[in-house]
Point group: C2
Chain length 362, copies 2
Amino acid sequence: MIDPWASSSVDYDKLVNQFGIQKFSDLINDVENPHRLMKRGVIFGHRDFDKVNNLINKKEDFAVVGGMMPSGQMHIGHKMVVDQLKWYQDKGAMLSILIADLESYAARDMSFEKARDIAVNEYLTNYIALGLDLEEDNVNVYLQSKNDTLRDLAFKASKKTNFNELKAIYGFNQSTNIAHIQAPLVQVADILLPQLEEFGGPKRVVVPVGVDQDPHIRLTRDIAHKLNDEYGFLPPSSTYHRFLTGLSGDKMSSSKPSTAIYLNEDSKTAAKKVKTAKTGGRESLKEQQELGGQVDNCVIYEMFVYHLIDDDNELEKIRHDCLDGSLRCGDCKAKASELMVEMFDEIHDRQDEAREIANNLI
Amino acid sequence: MIDPWASSSVDYDKLVNQFGIQKFSDLINDVENPHRLMKRGVIFGHRDFDKVNNLINKKEDFAVVGGMMPSGQMHIGHKMVVDQLKWYQDKGAMLSILIADLESYAARDMSFEKARDIAVNEYLTNYIALGLDLEEDNVNVYLQSKNDTLRDLAFKASKKTNFNELKAIYGFNQSTNIAHIQAPLVQVADILLPQLEEFGGPKRVVVPVGVDQDPHIRLTRDIAHKLNDEYGFLPPSSTYHRFLTGLSGDKMSSSKPSTAIYLNEDSKTAAKKVKTAKTGGRESLKEQQELGGQVDNCVIYEMFVYHLIDDDNELEKIRHDCLDGSLRCGDCKAKASELMVEMFDEIHDRQDEAREIANNLI
């Protein structure tokens, strides 16, 4: 069972085999100008992405759903989702962005006011600063708690499932509070929302998520089917990405500053934090030269892959030089630190304007 | 266990003993100008009504909550609730009237549009025609599905309970659909709503209900306590009334025309239906004269008690004459029929104007 409310290390191949997730590598050749996260295997799995990809290639309508639970600070791990949303927006997607304030209330006891504040200042501001155009007509950004259409749809979805099914999917038990039991139905509605008449009716929707969110996808596909007669819903497609490892080698966390670099931190702090990251370096320089670095166990290398180096050849050279022992961790840290400062400077330059836009969105 | 979604015949004394409901007769002497339903034992039980009564006697603020599930036709049994609401309104209560369209969707698959239509034309129109003033400032009439404040409160309430508790109260099982599981939390919010800041903050609230609704009252009292820190809620008070028996001797039903007289039926039909009612008459006139009638097992007599005769002496005389065998069922039917026509004519005279008001309320 996959639990979307717990963190855990994940065996991605097992997921593909066990849960019917398809391998992204099997269709990467059909994707025109794939995102670097697709090419590099960070996006490793999907459900029915081929159906969305066909529409992209034919320049036909589709939608992408993204969102955030506004419960802490936005970090460079979250950036990955924004990068994907931007890729889809550039391909002509309708963009539906939810702010999961009902979930942050249910899961974290966070007031709606506080959730809105975090959503605007931590997330939406940086979404915009990272290049998403949220002012376009073809974009819907909303707070769950303020969206009546969503609540109606969640309620209707809730009639199509029962405690047994949610227990099987999420591992709920009889002591689970009812707000928590309702939360998945709100997520289901978030994913189905772009298919309502007011957004142009039934359409293909893709949801780029971490694999921890797959239970919501499966439940949504089931309920889409059950609501098909009334709404004509198509089952949503999804893609699954790996997570950027935390600085310390554990999970990157919104609430643990030693694990994450937050987008609202200044460039200097970001640069310093990069240098604390766990690398794949050996015990000694001598050993490193003899055995080569453990590149696939290196947070700095991950940062290159996910965020800092767009040129595949440059990345390949680093990988090669690390494995043959000629590259030293200190050099990589210095390079990553420098690139991170560039990225942060660019984000920060745009934040003031972005914050104003964000504030007017919701 | 009391199941608010099932109909059943009820042993009222057992309820008083088993569920901690207090006897209304113990405080009737403290009630100034009690409603005839109070004096006549139709309202037989309460929880904390003394606290509301003290405020009434001191002419201080309190609220009354009433409502309807808009799923069928309004009948003379429903009138009883309106009569009580009117009594409280005359005593200065803030009036909060909910239209349970979320529940009618969950329980009866009724669309929100259809529910609104029934609420306006069957219920609110007749509420107004029966003398409730719904245009006053101190009145809040709302559709659950359109009330964001209510939904927020229901959601917050849902965090304070779990499946175990709802199972114990309502007998839910694991196959119960999630919309149904959520429904009681909406009712809880309906009852707590008048205590929110926008309605003047924490206050005593009384909910006049049939005893089948007591599970909602108990759950609300529990959750009021759990939300006390955040909202300062007081536990709601309640009163419990018996139900008017259906014409055939079974339950009066919104959807079974042979059991009920509907307020939107014409006076002639109402008069005819009265004459089909089951009486407490004996097998033969001779037996009736010898043994007397079974007045407490007579739907016609119930109609006198609940609705048709306001004068206690007149009612007492009918009871006496029935019991001593001098009154014939045919005479009672004729009288009831005549009084019902008067009542219906009065209601119908007001319906056109009432319907216009009702239509503008929600």
